[in-house]
């Protein structure tokens, strides 16, 4: 049947995929710690319709100089997470933390598995434990005493509290950050969490301020690194390319229609 029709179909699918990725980025433009995703494409294999160098006639000198290899379209190979630093927003909330560097906070899910996040909007639950905004325990667990009047977190992750009747601040815990050799290989779990995969490699756990972990900034949050202008441009581009590919479908269709009506 008509090759052009199927090739253009792959083009439509790719642009639709791209638009979905862009929409997800735009939808998460205000999600703390969200990392933008970039749709990546690949050309598909080529089909050898006529071999270059094949015999055109029996005369040995007459060979095809270039042949015909037809491409079979495009394929979306995935959405690559771009782990660049998002803007830091100062909130002055004592339990808001932002990571300046490559590290991820760790939290435990309901089954006790470790999850990783850049979203540092932490809160305290009924037991005084520091939890993420979705209620998962920070790992390692840090308990804030009931009578704490003030919490301070140093850039290297030590958590101190002030208590009435005590002039000295008391250290109640130490925040640890996980880094991955290939953060782009992390699996997005939703709710701002990532999970470890074979592609990401095992986590390296370090105190903030050491190795490549980066430092912790108290009273600030990391905004998403979505560049809305870039996404809008991408959206326009995706839409126009979609339109052109749909034109290619109608052109191929028109050719077949003409053939059917005129022979």
């Amino acid at each position: 049947m008509n090759n052009a029709l199927y090739v253009a179909k792959t083009g439509l699918e790719a642009q639709q995929f791209r638009l979905a990725a862009i929409s997800n980025n735009l939808a998460n433009a205000n999600t703390y710690g969200y990392k933008t995703g970039r749709a990546e494409f690949n050309d598909l294999i080529y089909q050898n319709v006529r071999q270059p160098g094949a015999q055109a006639t029996q005369d040995e000198a007459n060979t095809l100089p270039s042949g015909l290899q037809l491409g079979t379209g495009v394929k979306a190979i995935g959405v690559q997470k771009i782990h660049t630093q998002g803007n830091l927003m100062v909130t002055d909330n004592q339990l808001d933390m932002a990571v300046e560097g490559k590290g991820f906070f760790q939290a435990l899910d309901q089954d006790g598995n470790l999850m990783y996040t850049r979203d540092g909007s932490f809160e305290v639950n009924q037991n005084g434990d520091i939890v993420t905004s979705s209620g998962y325990l920070l790992e390692p667990n840090i308990n804030i005493p009931q009578d704490a009047t003030d919490i301070s977190i140093t850039s290297d992750g030590a958590v101190y509290v002030s208590q009435p009747g005590n002039t000295q601040q008391v250290q109640v815990g130490q925040i640890e950050l996980a880094t991955f050799i290939n953060p782009a290989g992390l699996e997005s779990l939703g709710k701002n969490f990532y999970g470890e995969t074979t592609a990401s490699g095992a986590p390296n756990i370090n105190n903030p301020g050491t190795a490549e972990a980066g430092s912790v900034l108290q009273g600030a949050l990391e905004a998403s690194n979505v560049n809305t202008v870039e996404e809008l441009i991408g959206m326009i581009e995706a839409q126009r390319t979609y339109e052109m590919n749909s034109k290619a479908i109608s052109a191929a269709n028109g050719m077949m229609q003409y053939l059917n009506n005129n022979t």
């Binding site: 880094t179 028109g254 005129n262």
Partner: protein, 247 residues
Amino acid sequence: MDRMLYVAMSGAKEVMLAQANNSNNLANASTDGFKKDFNIFRAQHMEGPGQHTRTYALDERPATDYSAGAIKVTGRDLDVVTKSDGFMAIQTPKGDEAFVRTASMQVKENGDLVDVQGNPILNEAGVPINVPPYKSIAVGDDGTISFVPADGQGNQLIVLDRLRLVAPDEKQLYKGLDGFSRLREDAGELDQANISVVSGALETSNVNTAEALVEMISLSRKYELQVKMMATSKTHSQKSDSLLSVR
């Protein structure tokens, strides 16, 4: 029956193939680093008895257009583009060397530096590059990759390796059936060239969509012409049939 029908058919069929090639260019309009394929028709003359009136059309893909696409700034350290006529080398799944103008490089879990499809990026010696754990990584103008080790002090950069940058004559390159651009067998060895690279950017596909659109319309119309010739040939044979019919 006259062969006019067959000659017209060959025209229509080959135009259809050309349309598929054009659609492939268009479909890859947003594939980073994609290079569009040219398309030409050739007159394929048929030897035979009598007049030389049988010349069929033949659609060919003579070459790939290696001209540069637009540069789009991404800000990601490991997105690189070679400037002017340079290429960088990657290793294909078959194990041989292929050339690309742009790569969105990734560090795999074992430290291997690969492109977005997982093909290793090659260094000056043609060996895949491996990156130790790092705090930050940068690609310099001349393709030098430097990094701050995970346990390093401050921002002291250590030179790790250098990308294999070459400047082959574009005529020496061909695009294989797997979509990778390789050096022709008779092209000989290539030396590392003085090519500069830009990091934090990617090269978009070099497909000019307006051009592809016009080409699409033009091919559609050519196709209609061929079909019209086929219809004409049908009328001719009908006419001659009726002339010769015996009452």
